[in-house]
């Protein structure tokens, strides 16, 4: 178990290092922050001074090494725009993002899983067809389209809810629904097929053949098995709690990490972009690690060091 954990941890760190390197290369190659942040008519001396101040005049490999060294010592750099620590800047936005993504995740789980299970248990019924129709609709409509549609109906036409901003809980309703619907649709479809797969297994028939009541067959025999593949996709959703709101935050002008990322990329605010990507990679990798551990808990066949 310890060996397994160590191995996974090393892999996690490598993954994050890879993401950081990739972000570094792409950002440095895609435009000069000095030109973007300074005004167009800034004197060349000022631009040069800016470059020198941020170390942009050094060779790329040297920048990379000092950047990596800084990260290793816990320094994620400062924003080129307002000079504050990138980590502080990003950290300020996290609660706002979580205020959208956590309720959205609850909607995904609370709506998607029961809908998928119900559809599987009533395969080919009208309820199944309705759930699957809604699910296909839910994940084929892009979130910015759904977001705009909801704004049009509930903000513009009906005037029930605000179309953007972050002043009260009412401002969160539309973005949370926008995010929740797509995820719930994906999860419903996934849960349904996982459940159908399991219900067709021989051990379900065995359980019925030994006299287990159907509700108990579903709860005790089918669900624990269907949970195994479903956990993967839930892990992915948990992993995108930080970064999953880029589009929706932009549509609803919600001041979260996603909006910050969009602005920082536009400005080539290197430290901020890199800080966000690092955070995203870290949450994703952590979620994956938890999923791997959960697999072991859910499926004895995947358990290491078992009694075999």
């Amino acid at each position: 178990m310890l060996r397994f954990l160590t191995l996974r941890l090393v892999r996690a760190v490598l993954t994050i290092a890879l993401v950081v390197t990739f972000a570094f290369v792409v950002l440095r190659l895609s435009g000069d922050p000095a030109l973007l942040i300074m005004s167009v008519d800034a004197p060349p001396e000022a631009v040069a001074a800016f470059r020198k101040a941020w170390g942009l005049d050094e060779p790329l490999w040297q920048q990379y090494l000092s950047y990596f060294g800084a990260i290793a010592s816990g320094d994620l750099g400062r924003s080129m725009r307002d000079g504050r620590d990138a980590i502080v800047l990003v950290g300020e936005r996290i609660p706002a993002t979580l205020a959208l993504t956590v309720p959205a995740l609850l909607i995904k789980l609370g709506l998607g899983i029961p809908a998928g299970v119900y559809a599987a248990l009533h395969r080919n019924s009208w309820a199944d067809r309705l759930v699957m129709f809604l699910a296909v609709a839910g994940f084929t409509v892009p979130s910015f389209v759904l977001g705009l549609l909801l704004v049009l109906v509930f903000a513009v036409q009906l005037g029930w809810l605000p179309s953007g901003g972050q002043d009260s809980w009412r401002h969160a309703v539309l973005p949370v629904i926008t995010m929740g619907v797509g995820g719930a649709a994906v999860l419903a479809r996934f849960t349904r097929s996982a459940m159908l797969e399991v219900l067709g297994q021989s051990y379900i028939r065995t359980a019925s053949a030994k006299g287990v009541p159907w509700a108990q067959v579903v709860r005790g025999h089918a669900l624990p098995n269907a949970a195994i593949p479903t956990v993967t996709i839930i892990g992915f959703m948990v992993g995108s709690l930080i970064a999953g709101a880029v589009v929706v935050e932009s549509v609803f002008s919600w001041p979260g990490v996603g909006r910050l990322l969009v602005v920082a990329v536009a400005n080539r605010d290197l430290a901020v972009v890199q800080c966000i990507l690092l955070l995203v990679a870290a949450t994703m990798v952590t979620a994956n690690l938890v999923v791997d551990l959960l697999y072991g808990a859910l499926d004895p066949r995947l358990r290491r060091g078992g009694s075999r």
Binding site: S202, S208, G211
Partner: protein, 323 residues
């Protein structure tokens, strides 16, 4: 049959999406009797027993009657069926590895049946599960209770299945190809176990198999199915001495002889008709060397060639003369 039947199928028919796969099966099992159900894959032998216990998916249309000790159990209320299944009639399946739940410990799966049918829980359920494991010959039973199915071999898993089936102290055990997925040596062990248990517990047994050898070894009586119909039913000794239905004769002729010169095995020409495209007459007529025009006109009615030997063939009595 002098005693009242334990279980009686009458006119049991099964259809999937408009195609009838089983056409009116009449069959009775006496208490403690071992009946072999023989036929090739797809002839309806497994489906018949799944239907009898209400284990087919909802899309299957099942008609007729299934009486257990005089009580109708076909389309019975869920509570009735749950009491019957595992309690009075238990069933084991072909592939033990996939018939056991991979995420539950073996002991727990057996204890579930003990709780449902005998109200045992906690330590007493565990003790009884261990006793059952010992009974079916699982070595190191106490430790195996905590194992998962993937940690045991196929043969051991089938023993667990049998232990689980015995948990409810059933009057009838339906074994659906219980040895097909196992090695030949293990096969013999499992068959011997089934026979011993049946003798000791006085339980009736339905052994579904495509293997005549297996049936000959274990069963008192043989029922042969072809294309969803019962074509021959007789005491095992009489059946193996001289099957009357041309299909059953073909099955016997296809067995390799143990002595004499090597000769190519005899195969029955042609294939089993699709359930949706059965001939109007006898389903076997197109493959039958002895078929007559009358055979293709209407399905044959079962007739008794002796008091306990029924054959669904128009010419059954001619065969008896020949034999």
């Amino acid at each position: 049959m002098t005693t009242a039947p334990l279980l009686q199928l009458a006119g049991l028919s099964i259809a999937f999406g408009g195609a009838t796969v089983v056409h009116g099966i009449d069959l009775a099992i006496a208490p403690g009797e071992a009946l072999g159900m023989v036929g090739e894959s797809g002839c309806g032998k497994s489906v018949t027993w799944l239907a009898a216990l209400g284990l087919l998916p909802a899309k299957a249309r099942v008609g007729g009657s299934v009486k257990l000790g005089g009580e109708e159990i076909l389309h019975a209320a869920p509570a009735t069926l749950e009491r019957v299944r595992g309690g009075r009639v238990a069933m084991i399946f072909q592939d033990p590895a996939s018939a056991l739940n991979p995420v539950h410990r073996l002991g727990r799966q057996v204890q579930e049946a003990l709780r449902l049918h005998r109200g045992l829980g906690g330590a007493s359920a565990r003790a009884e599960a261990k006793r059952l494991f010992d009974l079916v010959g699982i070595p190191d039973a106490a430790r195996r209770l905590d194992a998962f199915p993937h940690e045991l071999s196929g043969g051991q898993n089938q023993r667990v299945m049998i232990a689980m089936a015995l948990a409810g102290q059933p009057e009838l055990l339906v074994a659906d190809e219980p040895t097909t997925a196992l090695d030949v040596t293990i096969q013999a062990q499992i068959l011997e176990l089934l026979q011993t248990l049946r003798r000791e517990l006085g339980m009736a047994l339905v052994l579904i198999s495509h293997d005549l050898g297996v049936v000959a070894e274990v069963c008192d009586r043989v029922a042969v199915m072809y294309a969803g119909r019962l074509v021959e039913e007789a005491p095992a000794a009489r059946f193996f001495a001289g099957p009357r239905h041309p299909y059953a004769q073909g099955l016997m002729a296809a067995l390799p002889p143990l002595d004499g010169p090597r000769a190519p095995l005899l195969a029955i020409p042609g294939g089993v008709p699709e359930p949706g495209a059965l001939p109007a007459g006898c389903a076997f007529a197109p493959r039958c060397a002895a078929s007559q025009p009358a055979c293709e006109a209407a399905p044959p009615v079962a007739q008794l060639v002796s008091p306990d030997h029924a054959v669904a063939c128009r010419r059954a009595n001619e065969w008896s003369l020949a034999a």
